[in-house]
């Protein structure tokens, strides 16, 4: 079922700036970890430098998340831990309502934080080990166990980047609850933004420049996915009769489209110069990476703002 038409009489929850930026950083943190894992597992040894940048980006973006979530609770901020532990007499213990995305998200955030922190620390240790050396970055630690650790972390990362969209859908708000696309849309957008972020960071780290073209290529694929989901999103809310509510946010939607377009323009060059069964891509995108990455990141933020503020 795609058609979820409903007449809504619900009050807006006033999830505004803190939640907007939480969704933004959650998308980047989860997306960066997933991409870093992929770069490490399926990429060339020379992609390791970019993978480490991804783990750094994931951890730093993650650090902001609990701060934003707690700040959003305002006067009750000191009761944030009630999300994890049930204190109701007769029902004490860990709180885990698998059907409530907000509960799932808090647990994923808590567990994923361990993976993000360990991977960032490992990257830091590896960078210290490689300091002053020339050539490819050294191999990551832990062997097969280390890779398994990254895979589990990568799965949690994908969940972390997407649950925020599902959280909005699992409500009775107009637009949010009229579609199933938000989880996928936020994930695709988060992956795209993360590729742009790592690409941006790689400009300032010569060893990671090798992965620049691959990141732009990946960003292009993620943007195609995002575009398809965006079309599906609009079809569903038009069918539900709530699309009119978001017309006033047209500038934000256009900004999101500019971000998607920038990714596609940057990726187009990479797809064209893909080597046939041989040489690695060490080319830079035709469009300046700095501008493209900033536009993509702005688009990621604009998309979330458009969705969040549409219903409120």
């Amino acid at each position: 079922m795609i058609y979820l038409a409903a007449e809504h009489f619900v009050r807006a929850p006033q999830w505004t700036w803190y939640i907007l930026f939480y969704f933004f950083f959650a998308g980047l943190s989860g997306g960066s970890y997933a991409l870093a894992t992929l770069l490490r597992l399926v990429g060339e040894p020379r992609d390791e430098a970019a993978a480490r940048l991804g783990f750094y980006a994931s951890f730093v973006a993650l650090l902001v998340c609990p701060v934003l979530l707690t700040a959003d609770l305002a006067a009750s901020w000191w009761k944030f831990w009630h999300m994890l532990i049930n204190v109701t007499p007769g029902d004490q213990g860990l709180n885990f309502k698998y059907w409530s995305p907000i509960t799932l998200g808090v647990w994923v955030l808590s567990v994923f934080a361990v993976f993000a922190a360990v991977s960032a620390l490992e990257s830091f240790a590896l960078d210290r080990r490689d300091r002053g050396t020339v050539g490819d970055p050294g191999r990551p630690m832990g062997g097969i166990l280390g890779r398994a650790f990254n895979v589990v972390g990568g799965i949690l990362a994908l969940l972390f980047a997407s649950y925020t969209g599902v959280l909005l859908s699992v409500s009775n708000q107009p637009i949010w609850s009229d579609t199933w696309m938000l989880g996928g849309l936020f994930l695709a957008s988060g992956l795209s933004g993360s590729a742009a972020l790592i690409a941006l960071m790689s400009r300032y780290r010569p060893k990671a420049a090798f992965s620049l073209g691959r990141l732009h290529e990946a960003d292009g694929y993620f943007s195609i996915l995002e575009l398809v989901l965006l079309v599906a999103f609009f079809i569903t809310i038009i069918a539900a009769g709530t699309a009119g509510m978001t017309v006033q946010l047209l500038p934000l939607w256009l900004l999101a489209l500019v971000g998607i377009g920038s990714s596609l323009v940057a990726a187009r060059g990479q797809m064209r110069i893909r080597p046939m069964g041989g040489a690695a891509v060490v080319a830079r995108a035709g469009t300046d990476t700095l501008v493209v990455s900033l536009l993509v990141l702005l688009g990621v933020l604009a998309l979330r703002a458009a969705v969040i503020f549409s219903a409120q």
């Binding site: 079922m1 979820l4 409903a6 007449e7 809504h8 009489f9 619900v10 009050r11 929850p13 999830w15 997933a34 770069l39 399926v42 990429g43 060339e44 959003d72 609770l73 305002a74 006067a75 009750s76 901020w77 009761k79 944030f80 009630h82 999300m83 049930n86 204190v87 109701t88 029902d91 709180n95 309502k97 059907w99 409530s100 995305p101 969940l159 997407s162 969209g165 599902v166 859908s169 699992v170 409500s171 009775n172 609850s177 199933w180 696309m181 938000l182 989880g183 996928g184 849309l185 994930l187 992965s211 691959r214 990141l215 990946a218 694929y221 993620f222 996915l225 989901l229 080597p275 060490v282």
Partner: protein, 267 residues
């Protein structure tokens, strides 16, 4: 006759809007008992309703719904303002309870829905979920508030303040089974008088599994700002669909990453 209140039994309200006169005694009694200060006075320029909505300071709200036809040639055809004392419905399948991540929203021994103020951490997920726009945030406490069905009065064997104050007995309090019986009798009486538009809302399980605070309405539910049976969906209806789309996107994203990052031989 006073109702004997016994823990373990289901209690609720039957609000008969056909005899509501819009006096707002329920609003006042609710505020008085629950020590609600009320919002700053404002003039809404829309009938005699200046309360506007249910929120953290208004747990009862008398809605004034302009149902008078524009053409007055037929003198309204017997139709006038619809008045309805709105309140938390204490749904059997409560959207707020379903999504509350802290366990702050519980079902009491009287089968009512109650927000534990010491547990609620103000995440506002219940506000996004409540299909009746009942729950609202109290900014000073940082917690969600709504009608408690006078939980403290029930514990003391007293009926809720609004029902006690209602001069026309439009708001009836009692054991749910008795209220449902009374509602059936009243509906039959109205329909025998030719008032065919009269209908019960939330009496059966078609809306959120049944409402402990249910209504006799004089028009369709949407007129009163209530979702009809087709639109009364729980938030969890989107769980599976939302996660499936996320999962498919994740799979395609991983494939896209593998295509972009795969080893292509030595340079």
């Amino acid at each position: 006759m006073a109702t004997t209140i016994t823990p373990g039994e289901s209690y609720g309200f039957f609000t008969d809007t056909s005899i509501c006169i819009g006096c707002k005694a329920c609003e006042v009694a609710c505020k008085e008992w629950n020590q609600l200060q009320g919002d700053s006075p404002q003039f809404l320029a829309d009938s005699y309703d200046n309360t506007g909505q249910l929120d953290a300071q208004n747990w009862r709200h008398v809605k004034f719904i302009d149902n008078v036809p524009e053409q007055t040639a037929k003198a309204g055809d017997g139709r006038a303002f619809l008045m309805m004392s709105d309140v938390c419905k204490h749904c059997k399948h409560a959207s707020c309870m379903e999504v509350c991540p802290t366990g702050a929203i519980i079902r009491t021994e009287f089968d009512t829905v109650f927000i534990q103020q010491d547990v609620c951490n103000g995440c506002r997920n219940c506000v996004a979920a409540c299909p009746y726009s009942v729950i609202a945030m109290n900014q000073s406490t940082g917690t969600a508030h709504k009608c408690t069905l006078c939980y403290d009065r029930l514990q003391g064997g007293l009926e809720p303040a609004c029902a006690k104050a209602c001069p026309t007995q439009s708001i009836k309090f009692g054991p749910l089974a008795e209220l449902q019986q009374a509602a059936d009798v009243r509906l039959a009486a109205l329909q025998s008088q030719g008032i065919t538009q009269a209908q019960l809302y939330g009496r059966d399980d078609k809306v959120y599994g049944g409402l402990n605070a249910f209504f006799l309405l004089m028009d369709k539910p949407e007129t009163y700002g209530l979702p009809n049976e087709d639109n009364a969906g729980l938030p969890s209806r989107n769980d599976v669909g939302g996660y499936v789309v996320g999962l498919v996107t994740a799979a395609l994203g991983v494939i896209a990453g593998i295509v972009a990052f795969r080893r292509r031989g030595a340079s």
